[in-house]
């Protein structure tokens, strides 16, 4: 049984850590993001990435997408605790959902000359990154894809003169015509 550690039991064993993406549908009112983020810090949960924007202006709803990780018991608590927040309308967990589509966007600046410069452009082409801005000694690429693809591209750019990265965090939606 996967019991969480308590103040009375300092556990040595390390239960399996699972990563998941949660979509949190909230009433778009002042402070709601603070409540969600505050919950994670108050209870010691991880946030790996977080994105938020209004998704339905007429209904005042926003969608917060959070990538988090923890044991299965912790993840169940995270969802239950999120549901306690009054303006939270729904929490959708995409863990193990093979129909979940996840995308992230990154803007990546690389500076260099000669072979490095050519190589970075060649790789960008292979990754289907767009050139947003270019100069004689730099490129700024726009890349969309899974977080893993972005990670891979960024690590390849490192030796080629990586200067700066800006990432949006993950957005997730389910395949098919239905609504979550």
């Amino acid at each position: 049984m996967n019991q969480p550690a308590s103040a009375y039991f300092i556990s040595e064993e390390k239960p399996e850590i699972i990563r998941t993406t949660l979509a949190v549908i909230v009433k778009n009112e002042p402070g709601v993001l603070g409540r969600v983020v505050g919950l994670f810090s108050a209870r010691g949960y991880n946030i790996e990435s977080l994105t938020v924007a209004e998704t339905d202006h007429a209904k005042h709803t926003s969608r917060i997408t959070i990538v988090t990780s923890g044991t299965s018991a912790t993840l169940a608590q995270i969802k239950a605790q999120l549901n306690r927040i009054v303006p939270v309308k729904r929490v959708i967990d995409f863990h193990g959902d093979s129909d979940a589509l996840s995308r992230e966007l990154a803007l990546i600046k690389v500076a260099g000359k000669g072979d490095d410069r050519v190589e970075s452009l060649r790789l960008a082409d292979a990754f289907k990154a767009k050139v947003l801005d270019a100069g004689l000694e730099h490129f700024t690429f726009e890349l969309t894809g899974s977080s893993k693809k972005l990670d891979d591209f960024i690590s390849m750019m490192k030796p080629l003169g990586l200067v700066e990265v800006s990432r949006t965090g993950v957005a997730t939606i389910r395949r098919g015509k239905g609504k979550v």
Binding site: M1, N2, Q3, P4, A5, S6, A7, Y8, F9, I10, S11, K27, P30, G31, G34, R35, G38, L39, A42, A73, A76, Q77, A80, Q81, N83, R84, V86, K89
Partner: protein, 597 residues
């Protein structure tokens, strides 16, 4: 005051333009609020002005805003209604926060109205500006900053709805001064009905059936209840009593749940947990099916988690989904109102056919544990033993309508062990937060709601000094609370831990420079009594009861008495310290255990 009278008077206002402050007073009135505990200041003066011009709502002027929030807790806990607090911006709010968090942890319904600097000054570090919604975000169940007077009426009604439904708790409304002055059309409570917040109260019936199947087969069942049963109202306690009667199961409860099942009931095992009874903790440890209703497997209850009731199937009924599987994984989790679910259990048990195990062997085992008499103590002819003082207090007050509040410490645990509660809502204590200073103001709040009842704060000499000044409030409003200080000249509970865990190094736990409590009582203008000898107890307690007004009793008790049984940190339910184990106390607690709270 009848709500129909309230309503008809308010009806005349509907459709007219009134100020934010008037909206507050009238919306509270429609909510059935008869009492506000508060303290004025610049940012709430318009509300005080509106209060001055009406006579439906009584305002109790506290001496410190922490007192207001604890009084509202006492009022709420003893009546089942929502408590209401009114404080000014900045320090008014920060002072009230302790009581707000206390209410959050103990699930007490409360609405806290706070003044705020005018909207255009928010964010400028204006005089007495504090970020109230930021400060109370994790302190309250929910909070609001009212940005427009047009939103005010709806927010007030929604706040009472949220505070009183689901797992009850405190809701804070931060109201800028310009919003209090602003004018808008008053719509009346009936215009605000459909709230998005709509917690589940009805149990999922197939789960109730599964629970009954499991319980009907149990050879060693136990029922473990908590504050949720009390919060669910008198009917929930009645359903619980019926369920115990028809099943003949043993029953224990948390500190917060005392009184839901009567202490005189034959199936009662006493409180469980760190200072619970031997029989309650061993029954929990050895049971094969555990039914938990409205309790939350708090660490003070479970002890060492991996050794908590290792061989049982567990059923957990709670109104708050996040309470289920939070600390302990259960086999059947049921989200529901404790009362509705318990009634469903009663019905299902009655319908359930089939042979049931004989519980006699289990009861024989339990009665063996009972025979240890784990709350026993050695009495004395010369020194007042604290447990004996509480026993006398119980004997001399049990036939009256008596409400008990406590502070936090050894006296609190002894009160839970030795004062026997027959009814719900008679016992008010700070369980989750463990707030010293809770008991005296809570008693004032209880007395305000029950003017003719006997209300006693069983106090410690250290705790009582934290909110002592509220005795002045009790005197102002003729609230005859009795403050029974179990004066051991120590922060006794701290001293006990230092004795057991820190090599008898009594670091800063002696109550130095104690005031003369009798003279202090006189200085405040109430009666002060001192009890030095066991032989004086009865007469002085009677004098305390008979005095028509607040009393402070300085009951000088043994300075060295410890509270047992005790499950030391890091230990399991079947590893309790009993008073007779005292010999090798140092070796009983592991190094890992010493690090824990």
């Amino acid at each position: 005051m009848s709500s129909s009278k309230n309503k008809s008077a308010n009806d005349k206002l509907i459709g007219t333009e009134i100020s934010g402050a008037e909206i507050i007073v009238n919306a509270l009135r429609e909510q059935g609020v008869d009492t506000i505990f508060g303290y004025p200041g610049g940012a709430v003066l318009p509300i005080y002005d509106a209060l001055y011009q009406q006579d439906y709502i009584t305002h109790v002027l506290v001496r410190h805003e922490q007192g207001a929030s604890h009084m509202a807790e006492g009022y709420a806990r003893s009546t089942g209604k929502c408590g209401t607090v009114l404080v000014t911006s900045g320090p008014g709010v920060t002072n009230a926060i302790t009581g707000i968090v206390d209410a959050l942890l103990d699930s007490i319904p409360m609405v806290v109205l706070c003044g705020q600097v005018p909207t255009h000054l928010i964010g400028t570090d204006a005089f007495q500006e504090a970020d109230t919604t930021g400060l109370t975000r994790s302190a309250a169940k929910h909070n609001y900053l009212v940005k427009s007077v047009d939103d005010l009426e709806g927010i007030i009604h929604e706040a009472y709805h949220i505070a009183t439904t689901g797992r009850p708790g405190p809701v804070v409304i931060d109201i800028p001064k310009d919003v209090q002055f602003g004018k808008t059309i008053f719509k009346g409570k009936n215009s605000y009905k459909d709230f998005e917040y709509d917690p589940i109260t009805e149990p999922y019936m197939p789960a109730i059936k599964m629970a009954i199947d499991l319980l009907a087969k149990a050879k060693k069942p136990v029922i473990y209840t908590g504050g949720g049963i009390i919060n669910a109202g008198k009917e929930a306690s009645e359903a619980l009593r019926e369920f115990v009667k028809i099943t003949n199961f043993p029953i224990t409860s948390t500190l917060m749940g005392l009184g839901a099942y009567p202490a005189s009931g034959k199936n009662w095992l006493g409180m469980l947990g760190m200072h619970g009874s031997y029989e309650a903790n061993l029954t929990m440890h050895d049971c094969d099916v555990m039914l938990c209703i409205g309790a939350r497997f708090d660490d003070r209850v479970t002890g060492r988690l991996d050794a908590f009731s290792p061989n049982s199937k567990k059923i957990h009924i709670d109104i708050e989904p996040s309470s289920i599987n939070k600390n302990v994984q259960v086999d059947i989790g049921i989200v529901a109102d404790a009362g509705i679910a318990t009634k469903a259990l009663v019905e299902e048990w009655k319908n359930h056919k089939g042979k049931r195990p004989n519980l006699e062997p289990w009861w024989n085992e339990i009665n063996g544990w009972r025979a240890r008499n784990s709350f026993g103590y050695k009495n004395s002819d010369d020194i007042i033993i604290p447990q004996f003082a509480i026993e006398r207090l119980y004997e001399l007050t049990k036939d009256r309508e008596t409400y008990i509040t406590t502070e936090v410490g050894l006296h609190q645990m002894w009160a839970a062990q030795h004062y026997h509660f027959e009814e719900p809502n008679r016992w008010m204590t700070s369980g989750g937060l463990g707030t010293m200073g809770y008991g005296l103001p809570a008693a004032v709040g209880v007395q305000k709601a029950h003017p003719d009842a006997l209300v006693i704060d069983i106090a410690g000499d250290a705790s009582v000094q934290m909110t002592m000044q509220e005795i002045s409030c009790a005197i102002q409003y003729n609230l005859p609370v009795k403050i029974f200080i179990m004066n051991n000249e120590w922060m006794g509970m701290v001293r006990q831990w230092q004795q057991l865990l820190h090599g008898e190094r009594y670091s800063h736990s002696y109550s130095h420079s104690l005031p003369d409590f009798v003279k202090m009582a006189e200085a405040f203008g109430c009666l002060g009594l001192r009890i030095d000898k066991p032989s004086e107890l009865d007469a002085k307690i009677k004098e305390m009861i008979d005095y028509d007004g607040p009393v402070i009793v300085d009951c000088r008790v043994s300075k060295i008495e410890n509270c047992f049984p005790m499950i030391p940190s890091g230990k399991a339910h079947n590893d309790m310290l009993m008073p007779d184990d005292l010999g090798d106390i140092g070796s009983v607690i592991t190094d890992a255990g010493k690090k824990l709270v």
